[in-house]
Each structure stands twice: as structure tokens, then as C-alpha cells.
């Protein structure tokens, strides 16, 4: 009943929220969870505080979709924006929700 899936975590400037949501949807993500965060990194450049804090996206996807998502994020954002992402192996009960898109 437990299904092995992958948790994609991405920390990104608030400004890019909509763009990242679109990217995730394109890769078939069925949902995501967003948290407001604050952070420091090697660049630490942000548009302005009015754009809100950094956002931390968590997205549970199938093992196969995880790599392409992170690759796409890297390709789209890494050069010019403050973005980092990582993958964690997790297990989920009733995992069908995340692979077939069913409720």
C-alpha cells in the first residue's frame, strides 16, 4: 500500500511563483505545498522585499518525473535567479493520487 515516490523541494524568489507553478504543472505535478521562508546563499540577490520572502515549494512526484523537473528548473532559473532544489526519496500511502492524478 505504501508507494515509493520522490519529494522535490525548491527554494525560489517570491517573484517567480507563477512561473514555477506553471513549470510544475507542465511536468504533470498534481499539487504542491508552498512555505514562506527566509534564507541566505551565495548570491542573496532579490528583486525587493515587497515581492515577499523566498518561497519553498514541496512537490511529491513519481520517481521518473523528479529528475526532469529539477533539470528544467536548473535550465530555466539557475543562471539568473536565486534558486536551489533537491530530491528526497519518500514513501506515501495511497500513492495513486500523485501518479495518475486521481483524487
Amino acid at each position: 500500500m505504501k508507494v515509493p515516490l520522490t519529494l522535490v523541494t525548491i527554494v525560489i524568489e517570491g517573484l517567480l511563483k507563477d512561473q514555477l507553478i506553471q513549470l510544475l504543472r507542465r511536468h504533470g505535478a498534481t499539487g504542491f505545498t508552498i512555505t514562506r521562508t527566509e534564507g541566505a546563499g551565495s548570491r542573496g540577490v532579490r528583486a525587493s522585499d515587497w515581492e515577499g520572502p523566498n518561497l519553498r515549494f514541496e512537490c511529491i512526484v513519481s520517481r521518473e518525473s523528479a529528475d526532469p523537473i529539477l533539470e528544467d528548473v536548473a535550465r530555466t532559473f539557475f543562471e539568473n535567479y536565486s534558486v536551489i532544489g533537491w530530491l528526497t526519496e519518500v514513501s506515501v500511502v495511497r500513492g495513486t493520487k500523485f501518479t495518475s492524478g486521481g483524487g
Binding site: E13, V45, A47, S48, D49, W50, E51, G52, E79, N80
Partner: protein, 319 residues
């Protein structure tokens, strides 16, 4: 000189200084980001509302010349900024264009500080100025982006969308329309929230802005002396020209000074967001440091009193 000190010793300016000090002595003071965003919503909407009310009391004839002047300066200032930043400032095309977009747009807080200084000095002002503020926000950013000549596929279009649906301008224009539709009598019912406490909220906002500016100022050294010179020269140049022109088209002496401060100011709310989307290669370390770390405090302390003086002199000469 007296005017200068008179201007500096005000709760709003000192709150900004307090924010700088907080960072310098490494205090753990923090304004939660939700509060900061809430205050921004409040301030932008309130500015718009107030502008809308005075718009509803202005005639079209009165407005025509100042509005035209605003658009002309909104197109010219990013161009002059661009060439000075390229030439004297030795910036790359992209960085010069990105920074020019900021100088073409406008800082609402500088505008309000100027309004307050004019009020304290007892000079006559013009009600429609907030409407001009909203008009001036947009063209400078567009011209700046065009000057980059290169941008991501669909970048300028995306930036235009970002500028117009972007929350800053959306709130200000939204407030403007509501204020204009409702008029003074109806806005009165919300005045105890949007009008009277406004300057107090601005204090806390500037406390936070001071803390942000302090981090920016620590980057100034990296930017080099040429940048610092431009961060002071650009507002002086744009502000003086605008003040003179405003006196020319017949604005009141106080109104012309506010207009000068407004045109001389550099955006650090609407412009950075748009530029970050359309010109991601440009370095925020340059444009934010210049606009928030140099030009904003410069205008707050030196620029505004100068434009007041200048406007006074020119108005006397004219009459």
C-alpha cells in the same frame, strides 16, 4: 541650511535613520515580512485614494499641461540616465538599461516626504500630484527595458504585464479610481484609517526600509565612486529640470518642488520587480544599491530641501 535641518528632524526621516542604526549595531530588530507586505498594501492604496479624491476636484484644463509634462519627462529621464550610466558610469548595456528603468520610474516614499516638507514649509501645492505619480510609474520602466534592446523571448511583454498587473501599480491605480469615483464626502468615512494615520504607518515602513537600505549601503563600496556620484547627480539633474519645467507650466511653488523630487527619485518597488523579470541578467546589486542605497537617502536629506529652495526662487523670478 535651516530648511535642510528642518527637513531632517522629522519622525519619518529619523525612523529611516533608526533603521540604519539598527543594522549597524547589529540589533535583532525585525519587522515580520507579513507586516511589511501589509503596510505596503496600505500605503499604496491610501496614496491612490488620496490622489483620486483630489483628482475628482481638479478640472481637465488644469491637468492637461502637467500630465503632458509628466509623460515627456517619464520618457526623457531614463534616456539621460542610460547615457550617463553607460558613459560616465561605465556600465554594460544591460545594467545601464536596467538602472535607467529605475530612474525613469518613481519612488512613492520620496514623493510623500516631499509633500510633507512642502506642507511644513507652508508652500502652496497641487491636488493632482498623486495622479501624476501614478502616470509617471510606467513609461520610465518601459523605455528602460527598450534601451536594453535585448531581452528574453517575450521579456518586454512579460514585463509590461508585470508592471500593469503588478500589485504596486494595481493598488495605486485601484485606489485612485475608487477615490475619484467616491469623492471627498464618501472617502471621509474611511479617512480615519487611510488618511490621518498615514504618516505614522510610513514611520514604521521607513524603519524597515532603513534596515534594507543599510544592507544595500554595505555594497556601495563594491559599486565604486562613479556610481555614488551618479546616484547623487541623476536626481539633482532630473529634479532640477523637472522643478523648473513645473514652475514653467504654472504649478504652485510647493507643487513644483514635489514634482521635482518625484521625477528625480528612483523606483525601488515597481521597477525592480519588472526588471528582474524582463532583464534577469542585469545585476540587482547595481540597481538596487543605487536607487535604495544612494538616491533615496540623498533625496530624503538633500534633494528635497534643494528642490524646495529652487522652486521658491524660480517662482519669485517668474512672478
Amino acid at each position: 541650511m535651516d530648511l535642510l535641518i528642518q527637513n531632517l528632524i522629522s519622525p519619518v526621516v529619523l525612523a529611516f535613520v533608526l533603521g540604519l542604526v539598527a543594522r549597524w549595531i547589529k540589533s535583532d530588530l525585525e519587522i515580520p515580512s507579513a507586516i511589511y507586505q501589509g503596510m505596503s498594501v496600505y500605503l499604496l492604496f491610501a496614496i491612490g485614494l488620496k490622489g483620486g479624491v483630489s483628482l475628482s476636484e481638479s478640472t481637465l484644463a488644469e491637468l492637461a499641461a502637467p500630465a503632458a509634462l509628466t509623460i515627456v519627462l517619464g520618457v526623457l529621464t531614463p534616456v539621460s540616465a542610460f547615457f550617463l550610466l553607460r558613459g560616465f558610469g561605465r556600465l554594460s548595456r544591460i545594467d545601464a538599461a536596467a538602472t535607467a528603468a529605475h530612474y525613469g520610474s518613481v519612488s512613492a516614499v520620496t514623493f510623500i516626504a516631499a509633500l510633507e516638507a512642502v506642507r511644513l514649509a507652508g508652500m502652496p501645492s497641487n491636488g493632482y500630484l498623486t495622479a501624476l505619480l501614478a502616470v509617471l510609474e510606467v513609461p520610465g520602466i518601459i523605455v528602460g527595458l527598450l534601451l536594453a534592446r535585448q531581452s528574453r523571448a517575450g521579456g518586454v511583454k512579460a514585463a509590461l504585464h508585470e508592471v500593469i498587473t503588478g500589485k504596486s501599480i494595481f493598488l495605486m491605480i485601484g485606489g485612485l479610481v475608487i477615490g475619484a469615483l467616491c469623492g471627498a464626502a464618501k472617502v471621509d468615512s474611511v479617512a480615519p484609517f487611510f488618511i490621518t494615520p498615514f504618516k505614522g504607518v510610513l514611520c514604521i515602513f521607513l524603519l524597515e526600509l532603513g534596515m534594507v537600505a543599510a544592507s544595500r549601503m554595505s555594497d556601495i563600496r563594491k559599486a565604486g565612486w562613479r556610481m555614488i556620484v551618479l546616484g547623487c547627480a541623476l536626481p539633482l539633474l532630473h529634479g532640477a529640470v523637472a522643478t523648473a519645467a513645473a514652475v514653467g507650466v504654472g504649478m504652485a511653488s510647493g507643487g513644483a518642488a514635489v514634482f521635482g523630487a518625484m521625477v528625480g527619485s528612483a523606483s525601488y518597488i515597481a521597477a525592480p520587480a519588472a526588471v528582474r523579470i524582463a532583464l534577469p541578467q542585469a545585476s540587482p546589486g547595481i540597481y538596487l544599491t543605487l536607487s535604495l542605497g544612494v538616491t533615496f537617502p540623498f533625496n530624503l536629506c538633500v534633494g528635497i530641501p534643494l528642490f524646495l529652495k529652487l522652486s521658491e526662487i524660480l517662482t519669485t523670478l517668474k512672478s
